[in-house]
């Protein structure tokens, strides 16, 4: 089911494409449901950050006050409706037109209560605005329609909500403050983790910042809450809170992307394809994405602005390598120049592995 969150909009084939792409993890991915965060259908989501409790307390405080006022107002209305229903056309009505004392009270009492709510909300908000000095630094980038997360302290770790299975977007240690510095590569997105009661817009051309401290180990939903186009509702992910020791281990693992013993180049390429985000735009089943599909790419002839290229042999290798390192130099016609350069992110072996992988995609 988690897959249904991240599938393409219009056709089932694309859905299948993503499922296939995650093939090695398919068994794992088909089992877990998205984190179910509420105990029952009227509850708040799990409280999983240090902010959650106070926010909820204010939420329930306002709910209680509102309920009291609602009962007062609608109760009075209901009572008057019954008591003063028209019994006869001649029924006399009162000549009251105003009452200074009553009007003063019903202006003053709500004012005082509203001030209390204002101050409470304001104090919590200020707390959320000032990250502690020792917070773990995390960089979050939003783009249509996935999140990428990097950890300056752990070079080489990039989590990507469209490729990491299942939709793992952010890993954080429990009980340690984490500061997110966020920006967008295209339009405005918004980073929202209900279980943390945390939300901030992610804006192109500037950095926004939030922080939190997770209090509960587990997996939590991440949603995009600023409308950003077709796959807005699929731009979600999973936030995984780990014990600090597990967190260190997981990040170390995530930081390495090396050929394993006994792993063929093509299998290694398949892993890179997923982990480095190629899967987001290039399908392997022929479905057209933001970029050309890799199905049958080896041996195919493509139109470029400068002529045609047949992707095979030495020239093919060269063209693929160039398209990864300088993607916008020669674009297959019909596609927009949208791919970022992977210069410095993929080494020669990894690019070769990708090419070997392409050769297997008949």
């Amino acid at each position: 089911m988690i897959l249904s969150l991240f599938t393409a909009p219009e056709n089932a084939d694309a859905k299948q494409a993503v499922a296939d792409a995650a093939a090695p993890a398919a068994e794992a991915a088909s089992a877990p449901l998205p984190p179910l965060e509420t105990a029952h259908s009227w509850a708040m989501p799990t409280q999983a950050s240090t902010f959650a409790e106070s926010t909820d307390n204010l939420y329930w405080f306002i709910t209680a006050l509102d309920t009291a006022f609602f009962i007062l107002i609608i109760g009075a209305m209901g009572y008057f409706m019954w008591k003063y229903r028209r019994r006869s056309k001649e029924q006399k009505t009162s000549s009251i037109t105003h009452n200074g004392m009553v009007e003063f009270l019903w202006s003053a009492i709500p004012t005082v209560l509203l001030l209390v709510i204002f101050v409470w909300g304001e104090c919590d908000f200020v707390k959320q605005s000032v990250p502690p000095q020792d917070a773990l630094e995390v960089r979050v980038t939003g783009q249509k329609w996935y999140w990428t997360v990097e950890y300056p302290k752990y070079p080489g770790v990039t989590l990507n909500s469209s490729t990491d299975e299942p939709a793992l977007t952010l890993m954080v240690p429990k009980g340690k403050p984490v500061r997110l510095t966020m920006t967008s590569n295209d339009v405005i997105h918004s980073f929202y983790v209900p279980a943390f009661r945390l939300k901030r817009d992610v804006i192109p051309g500037r950095y926004t910042q939030i922080w939190f401290e997770a209090t509960k180990v587990g997996e939590f939903n991440l949603f995009c809450t600023e409308y950003c186009g077709d796959l807005h509702s699929q731009m979600g992910g999973v936030v995984k809170v780990l014990e600090p020791a597990d967190f260190e281990r997981a990040l170390k693992e995530a930081g390495t992307l090396e050929q394993e013993e006994g792993e063929s180049m093509a299998d290694y390429g398949a892993r890179i394809y997923k982990r480095r985000g190629c899967v987001a735009c290039h399908s392997i089943d022929g479905t057209d994405g933001t970029g050309p599909s890799w199905k049958g790419i080896w041996g195919r002839t493509e139109n470029l602005a400068s002529g045609t290229v047949t992707i095979e042999g030495e020239r093919g290798q060269q063209y693929i390598r160039e398209s990864i390192l300088e993607p916008n130099k020669e674009i297959v016609s019909g596609y927009a120049p949208q791919m970022p350069s992977y210069q410095g992110q993929l080494d020669d072996t990894q690019i070769s592995a990708l090419i070997e992988y392409m050769k297997t995609l008949k």
């Binding site: 089911m1 909009p9 219009e10 998205p34 965060e37 009227w42 509850a43 926010t55 204010l58 939420y59 306002i62 609602f70 609608i74 009075a76 209305m77 008057f80 409706m81 003063y84 028209r86 029924q91 006399k92 009505t93 009162s94 000549s95 009251i96 037109t97 105003h98 009452n99 009553v102 009007e103 019903w106 709500p110 509203l114 001030l115 709510i117 204002f118 409470w120 909300g121 304001e122 908000f125 959320q128 295209d186 339009v187 405005i188 918004s190 929202y192 209900p194 009661r197 901030r200 817009d201 051309g205 500037r206 939903n221 809450t225 600023e226 409308y227 077709d230 807005h232 509702s233 699929q234």
Partner: protein, 543 residues
């Protein structure tokens, strides 16, 4: 009240005939009716968009009814049509045009030709929306947030240009109303004898004139940016997307009050007339409209608590937001107090009056959650917000508008609709409305984001309830449309004042009114809420 012979006299509907006599009329009543037809047609369109959206949301998976692209266009058009073509013109331009001169004892608005012009400008603006529908639609959300609106391939320019033009219609109507209220009141009709509907229309007109130009400039800048590539809001061209949000909400928050204040006006009339009581706290209600009109200009930032605006700005806007809650609370209390020791008749208009109190109270109270900074961080852009503004815009303005149509229907057409079907439809609307939107508070509280075409399965139950509610609403509105149209031909004829109201449109002219409104200049001695049933003997009751 010489009405006996007036029945044979021609009224504004029959005075002249032919299509041209309507299209080029300067009669405020005819212009009001034409607006009413336009508003209702677009209400139908916007409503059908909503039903489509709700149907898609029956299941968590997207695409079992419409594609993501279609869904995004539908919610955009639902919002844009409902805001710009329905709610904003509904009460002021449609009912207000019809009623304002009648309530003031005037022959027409101050500038009748300008009034016709605003109608034609409205028509032109709505043509741009229809063109947008034909030319690739629109998928930006009704807010046109940048830089999305700069980059999408849909017909942003024609839609924003449509909204730009509609703004002029709004400004012209506002100007006209302000001058009319100042200069055209009948002798004796002092400011503190004005029906509260007039106070509400007046406050609305002030906001329309002051705020709408800001929207016009904002939309124009957006068009300039999109067509001439001048970087204003798009960071890719050196602009600032958050600046757009400031501009947009600087208009669109006051616009919320452009939408709701006229509803308040109708509510005051409905509650007082149908409970035969003097409205409680006339001055408080009138002045709170003015207070709201002023404060509404300085609360726009509460739409942007999580947008990256400065924390200090967030705090100031939160404070001011709570300040605007107080006058709104005062109004609600005053309406309930008006019922006290009244003689309440449960006819169709009054059912909507009481329904308004119920739904608008929920809408108002849930606004408190969103004004509180830390809670808003959680609820912002979730279904909680969707539920809140539907309780205000629909549970407030639209319910009041429907109540107003029922209240003034006999005045507009001289006929009465079926009271039985009126009550049945009101029941459908009450149940349907609350079923559709109350769950959405719960959805939002649990973190369901808005503008989602697919969602995580745990939300399905609430979504299904909500969709069923929307079908009930559809049934309710269909029933209303049928019996109202039916009444035009077959409805029972009524006299000038079937409700026994005391304002001039009821006491001094026929139903439907004659072309020039009044025979001679009416003079006002009476208060509009001084009903004959009020017991003057127990003077000790009055404080």
């Amino acid at each position: 009240m010489a009405d006996a012979h007036e029945n044979n006299e021609s009224n504004y509907l029959t005075a002249t005939r032919g299509l041209k006599s309507w299209l080029f009329t300067v009669d405020h009543k005819r212009i009001g009716l034409m607006y009413l037809v336009g508003v209702l047609v677009f209400f139908l369109a916007g409503g059908l968009f909503a039903i489509t959206l709700r149907t898609e949301l029956l299941t968590p998976e997207g695409g079992d009814f419409i594609s993501a692209t279609t869904y995004n266009k539908m919610f955009t058009l639902h919002g844009a049509v409902m805001v710009f073509l329905v709610i904003i013109p509904s009460v002021p331009a449609a009912l207000g045009n019809f009623l304002l001169p009648l309530m003031l004892g005037a022959k027409d608005v101050a500038f009748p030709r300008l009034n016709l012009l605003s109608f034609w400008v409205y028509t032109l603006g709505s043509m741009f929306f229809l063109f947008t529908l034909a030319a690739g639609q629109l998928d930006t959300g009704w807010t046109f947030y940048t830089p999305y609106s700069n980059t999408t391939g849909t017909a942003v320019v024609s839609a924003t240009f449509g909204a730009f033009i509609l703004g002029f219609s709004s400004i012209l109507t506002g100007l006209n109303f302000i001058v009319t209220v100042h200069k055209m009141r009948a002798p004796g009709l002092t400011w503190n004898k004005l029906p509260l509907m007039v106070w509400a229309l007046y406050s609305t007109a002030v906001i329309q004139v002051l705020a709408t130009p800001v929207l016009a400039i904002t939309l124009l800048l957006l068009i300039v940016e999109r067509t001439l590539m001048i970087g204003i809001f798009d960071p890719a061209m050196g602009g600032d997307p958050v600046l757009y949000q400031h501009f947009f909400w600087f208009y669109s928050h006051p616009a919320v009050y452009i939408m709701i204040l006229p509803g308040f006006g109708i509510e005051s009339e409905l509650i007082a007339v149908h409970s035969r009581k003097h409205i409680f706290g006339y001055k408080a209600i009138a002045l709170s409209s003015v207070a709201i009109a002023i404060i509404s200009f300085v609360v726009w930032g509460h739409h942007m608590f999580v947008s990256g605006q400065s924390e200090l700005a967030g705090i100031v806007f939160s404070f001011l937001t709570f300040a605007v809650a107080v006058p709104t609370a005062i109004k609600t209390f005053s309406w309930v107090a008006t019922l006290y020791k009244g003689s309440i008749e449960f006819n169709t208009p009054m059912l909507y009056g009481l329904m308004f109190l119920f739904t608008f109270t929920i809408g108002g109270l849930t606004g408190i959650f969103l004004g509180a900074l830390s809670v808003d961080v959680h609820l912002h852009d979730t279904y909680f917000v969707v539920a809140h503004f539907h309780y205000v815009m629909m549970g407030g303005t639209i319910i009041a508008f429907v109540g107003g149509i029922h209240h003034w229907w006999p005045k507009m057409f001289g006929v009465m609709y079926s009271e039985k079907w009126g009550k049945i439809a009101a029941l459908f609307i009450f149940v349907g409305f609350n079923m559709t939107f109350f769950n959405q508070f719960v959805l939002g509280q649990q973190g369901m984001p808005r503008r989602y075409w697919s969602y995580v399965p745990q939300f399905q139950q609430q979504h299904v309830l909500s969709t069923i509610g929307s079908y009930l609403l559809l049934i309710g509105f269909t029933v209303i449309a049928i019996y109202l149209v039916h009444s035009l031909r077959n409805g029972k004829k009524v006299g000038p004042n079937p409700w026994g109201a005391q304002s001039l449109e009821w006491t001094h002219t026929a139903s439907p009114p004659i072309e020039h409104n009044f025979h001679g200049q009416p003079r006002v001695e009476n208060d509009p809420y001084n009903f004959p049933e009020i017991d003057r003997t127990g003077a000790t009751d009055a404080h």
